[in-house]
């Protein structure tokens, strides 16, 4: 049975300090979407990655957990990804953890 889970409803409870205008993860070439990169759409626990109608992969990183899964998977498949932590103090800030 498929559970339609609205990720953004889940993220609403979390506390984020968004570093406006400074996304910390960039796919080198969002238009050359390898089969692995396409899997980021289902893989990311915060649902940051989505396929655009024009076939490119776009990321909205406000809800990112900085878990590193997209970096590990992309690099394992030889895909180019620039991955860094947000600037000090920004990003997810767990209340319970």
């Amino acid at each position: 049975m498929t559970t339609s889970v609205k990720v953004e409803e889940k993220l609403f409870q979390n506390r984020y300090l968004v570093d406006e205008g400074r996304p910390h993860i960039k796919i080198k070439d969002p238009n050359a979407v390898s089969p692995t990169l396409a899997k980021l759409v289902t893989l990311c626990p915060a649902g940051c990655w989505s396929m655009q109608p024009d076939g490119s992969l776009s990321g909205s990183l406000d809800g990112c957990f900085e878990c590193g899964t997209c970096r590990i998977v992309a690099r394992a498949a030889g895909d180019e990804i620039e991955w860094s932590y947000p600037r000090g103090g920004y990003g997810i800030s767990y209340k319970f953890g």
Binding site: E8, F12, S60, D62
Partner: protein
């Protein structure tokens, strides 16, 4: 370099003496009678919040069985008199007036001196001001001078008959909660109320009001702050979403940045502001100061039209305060229909231009008829 600031001017001793926590009103506070509303007059025009407060003040005065008065402070160019007549038409029994050339533009010191003098002379039990930048600035200064209680940005006023005191309710913790505050043993009980919270009373033709005039015992030389200029907003294209009466918002449902033009056009016809949901900022369709929602601006307009917006909870939190919300979305069970007041299941790309046209005809029709 400047000298150390002089020790604080001890606030007027008088009524501010804190009394015990007993319910009974101390003797010297019984002399405070009547409900006053500060009529905000700037550049010859009265801010509509003043009439809304006269409507609310009338109810409070009738409950307490006391008089409702308007308080008008301004230059002697006749605008004060006109405002006094309007105040009567909106329900004031009398008006207290201070006219002086130096009161042409709002400055904290002279207005505070004037209003404080009127209160100390005529002792109202309740003093209401609009929660505009002027009203809040003045209320803060007057309340400190009189060492009395002030509750800001109220959304509801009532009389607690048990203690005949004003129970004012206001949002707290960023609006997620409400709290009710009272000023038991200090007079006057001051409160500022946000525009468009109280309903506009009906205007009835009334005789000229009783007028009590007081002098402003202050000269221009005593006032340090000078007003050099006034720059109206028209010149700057800065988004004032937080204060706009009408807002038109666009979402991903518009499909492309170019289509966002339809949102701007409708907003223009309605004389309102335009904005969009978080994803639009991320896609760069709109600048960050145009974002509506929890991490953007919280809006509290009369009318909010949400075109092609799904209505995620982050968006709901920032827009739920609107009086009327019209949601236009092709998806009948989009979450936005759960909190909008009105909904149209249709394509925003078609509805927006149609509404723009229909509103333009409707408003021009009204303008010609007026």
């Amino acid at each position: 370099m400047s000298s150390a600031p002089t020790p604080p001017r001890a606030p007027a001793k008088g009524p501010g003496k804190p009394a015990g926590r007993s319910r009974e009103l101390p003797e010297h506070l019984k002399a405070y009678k009547g409900v006053w509303v500060f009529i905000e007059l700037e550049r010859g025009r009265v801010h509509p919040v003043s009439w809304e407060l006269l409507g609310e003040g009338r109810k409070l005065a009738d409950t307490l069985g006391v008089e409702l008065a308007g308080v008008i402070i301004g230059p002697n160019d006749g605008s004060v008199g006109a405002a006094g007549a309007d105040a009567a038409a909106y329900g004031a029994d009398l008006v207290y007036v201070i006219e002086d050339p130096i009161l042409a533009a709002y400055r904290t010191d002279p207005f505070t001196r004037g209003l404080t003098a009127l209160v100390e002379a005529h002792k109202p039990e309740i003093l209401l001001l609009g929660a505009t930048t002027l009203g809040r600035d003045l209320a803060g200064a007057v309340a400190t001078t009189l060492a009395t209680g002030l509750t800001a940005d109220c959304t509801e006023l009532a009389i607690d008959m048990e203690t005949r005191t004003l129970a004012s309710t206001r949002p707290t913790f960023g609006g997620s909660l409400l709290c009710t505050i009272q000023t038991l043993h200090f007079r006057p009980q001051m409160a500022t109320i946000r525009p468009r919270v109280m309903s506009m009373p009906d205007r009835r033709d009334a005789a000229a009001p009783r007028v009590v005039t007081e002098p402003l015992s202050m000269e221009e030389e005593q006032i340090v702050t000078k007003v050099l200029d006034f720059i109206p907003d028209r010149d700057q294209d800065t988004a004032h979403l937080a204060y706009a009466d009408v807002v038109v918002g666009g979402g991903l449902g518009l499909g492309s940045a170019e289509n966002f033009r339809l949102v701007r056009e409708l907003a223009h016809v309605l004389g309102g502001e335009y904005g969009g949901s978080r994803p639009l900022v991320q896609k760069g369709w709109i600048p960050a100061d145009r974002q509506i929602g929890q991490t953007g601006r919280t809006i509290r307009p009369k009318l909010y039209i949400a075109a092609g917006i799904s209505g995620a909870i982050q968006h709901r939190v920032g827009t739920e305060g609107a009086d009327v919300i019209l949601a236009i979305n092709t998806d009948a069970n989009a979450p936005i229909f759960d909190f909008a007041t009105h909904g149209v299941v249709a394509d925003a790309l078609e509805m927006l231009p149609a509404l723009t046209e229909a509103f333009r005809r409707r408003l021009e029709g009204a303008a010609r008829a007026a």
